[in-house]
């Protein structure tokens, strides 16, 4: 087990290192890094300042070491669009909004996916199961940004049930959270269904039935408890997917989170901020995957031996 954790940890660090190379390299492979780093209207004075600050006149490996050193301290330079603010500080300011949206979306997804997944396993091959299948298929085929725009049109513009965009109370979060979570509902529901189907066949379920327990208790207590292990460990992956999915959904609903910051910064060519967002998101993403893998290995010893 310890060996497995060490190996996975090393892999994750390697992946993060890869991200740093990609981020560092992208600004440089395209020719003059100035073109990527600086906006078009930058002054010559500004150019000079950045060149010295970043040491762009020094050889690449030296630059990379300097970049990595700064990155490890969370220093990605100052934003060019928002003068005087550090890139990392901006990300930190916007991160709570994204986390808020992602966790709300996670709650909604679970509240829909869990009962639906259990019921479609118990009532296999009934209309209910088919409805679940259709939801899953639609979830996998529908682009989230379009779902967002359609929800906005139907529920905000037409029926005026929810605000169109922006932030505020819970009501502002409902539509973006549904649009964000829809795909995850589909994935989670199928996962719950298949692990429920496995459990429903097992011996202890038969025993519980023979014992005379009511069917609802067998399903929701005995089966679900055991079937929930796999989907539960999957939570980290879903959380990470929701965070990255937020990049798209936040721009649909003008939700002022990190995703919107990333898209705005890319448009404004604010490369310092883009770097910071990519590194922060990748760290979250990679850590979530690491935690899930370790949890899996803990629950299922076969994985450790691979």
């Amino acid at each position: 087990m310890q060996r497995y954790i060490v190996i996975r940890l090393a892999q994750s660090l390697f992946a993060l290192w890869g991200v740093s190379i990609i981020v560092f390299g992208l600004a440089r492979i395209t020719g003059d890094p100035m073109d990527v780093i600086l906006p078009l209207e930058a002054t010559a004075e500004h150019r000079q300042q950045i060149t010295e600050q970043w040491g762009l006149d020094r050889p690449l490996p030296v630059q990379y070491v300097a970049f990595l050193g700064n990155a490890l301290r969370g220093d990605f330079g100052d934003s060019l669009k928002f003068q005087g603010q550090s890139a990392m500080g901006l990300v930190g300011q916007r991160l709570p909004a994204t986390l808020q949206l992602a966790s709300f979306s996670l709650i909604i997804s679970v509240a829909i996916a869990l009962p639906l997944g259990v019921l479609s396993a118990v009532k296999r091959d009934t209309p209910l199961d088919y409805i679940g299948k259709i939801i899953a298929l639609l979830g996998q085929s529908m682009p989230s940004f379009w779902l967002g725009v359609m929800l906005m049109w139907i529920f905000a513009v037409h029926f005026k049930l929810f605000p169109v965009y922006g932030t505020g109370g819970l009501r502002h979060m409902v539509l973006p959270a549904i649009a964000l979570g829809w795909f995850q509902v589909a994935a989670l529901m199928r996962l719950v269904r298949s692990s429920m189907l496995d459990i429903l066949d097992s011996e202890f379920v038969k025993l519980a039935r023979i014992k005379g327990l009511p069917e609802w208790k067998v399903t929701w207590k005995h089966c679900l408890r055991n079937a929930a292990i796999v989907p539960l460990t999957y939570f980290g992956v879903i959380g990470a997917a929701l965070m990255t999915g937020a990049v798209v959904i936040e721009s649909v609903f003008s939700w002022p989170g990190t995703g919107l910051l990333a898209v705005d910064s890319i448009r404004a060519r604010d490369y310092q901020v883009v770097q910071a967002v990519v590194i922060v998101f990748s760290t979250i993403f990679i850590t979530a995957n690491l935690v899930v893998d370790i949890l899996y290995a803990y629950l299922d010893p076969r994985i450790r031996l691979r």
């Binding site: 890869g18 395209t30 639609l138 996998q140 529908m142 990049v247 967002v277």
Partner: protein, 312 residues
């Protein structure tokens, strides 16, 4: 007929590369008709766009801007036309520049099909070559390739695509390159897994004893056994790639304007959602139906060609 030929797997017999009577058997067993029809429905608008589309997709006719779909009547308040009604000339309405939405959707199919096919071919090619090398040679080659695969599978896709596209500048070539870079790892992992298993089979050692070079063994003996897997994986991925391209275009890091791309059209429609719902609705429906049918096709193919990967 049904006798086993030593050294040839049954899967290989059923693969499209098999010749003669065996391929007839394959065709009989797996009716290709529904598949062909589906692909035709998808490809037809893409190939024959100029013949089918009623209008030039980029023709700007400002007097006709924001016409609703044909079946929507005009709104009259006190004898004054407040909102224009639809016309059959512009079946699905027009956008803010008076361009025909239907024609743009038909031409948009071209972009989606082109981007997804080309990027899957490139990504699949890179992934297959590296996966074969890793699986067949093993050892340090395998270790190096698989570490990179693990790394690229563990990265947030859409964000990296955004950054790549932003650093290089949005264009059709960039989008294809970005998506191919994101796709290759999944092929590499799958191909490597299967190549590892195939390498241990008797017919490979026989080929080796017969003096075949590693390259020949890989191309003539290992690869044909992977064709089914690759077909299934590619079909299942086309839908994903179409959504990915549309998302990138929606965010402004994909296909540049004024090319008719579905994602861009939805982005335009989002701005107009208060006045013109049809601009966003129909291109999204096009994405939904295309991806849905591709996913169904992929599932069906997987059950037929690669039952091992079937899910409950």
């Amino acid at each position: 007929m049904a006798t086993e030929i030593p050294g040839v797997t049954r899967k290989a017999l059923w693969s499209p590369l098999a010749r003669g009577r065996d391929s007839l058997k394959w065709a009989r067993r797996y009716p290709l008709v529904p598949l062909a029809i589906l692909v035709l429905i998808l490809l037809a608008p893409a190939i024959f766009a100029p013949l089918i589309a009623p209008h030039n997709p980029n023709e700007v006719v400002l007097p006709n801007r924001l016409l609703p779909p044909a079946w929507v009547g005009e709104t009259v308040v006190d004898g004054v036309v407040v909102k224009k009604g639809g016309s059959w000339e512009y079946f699905l309405g027009t956008d803010k520049l008076g361009r025909d939405v239907l024609s743009r959707i038909i031409y948009g199919a071209r972009i989606s099909v082109a981007v997804s096919l080309v990027s899957i071919i490139f990504g699949g090619l890179i992934g297959t070559v590296l996966g074969l090398a890793a699986g067949y040679f093993g050892g340090p080659t395998d270790a190096v390739i698989m570490r990179v695969v693990d790394m690229s599978l563990g990265l947030p896709t859409i964000l990296l695509a955004l950054v790549l596209a932003a650093a290089v500048g949005p264009s059709l070539t960039t989008v294809i390159a970005v998506i191919a870079v994101l796709l290759w790892a999944r092929y590499a992992r799958q191909v490597r897994g299967e190549a590892l298993a195939i390498r241990e089979r008797d017919f490979i050692s026989r080929a080796r004893v017969a003096g075949a070079s590693p390259l020949r063994i890989i191309i003539r003996h290992v690869f044909p056994n992977l064709v089914n897997t690759l077909i299934v994986l590619a079909t299942l991925q086309i839908g994903y790639v179409i959504v990915l391209e549309a998302s990138l275009s929606f965010l402004g890091a994909g296909i540049p304007r004024p090319t008719p791309a579905w994602g861009l059209m939805v982005a335009d429609g989002r701005e107009l959602i208060f006045v013109a719902w049809w601009v966003a609705l129909f291109p999204g429906l096009a994405i939904l139906l295309t991806v849905l049918s591709l996913n169904l096709l992929g599932d069906w193919l997987r059950d037929r060609l690669d039952p091992k990967q079937r899910q409950l």
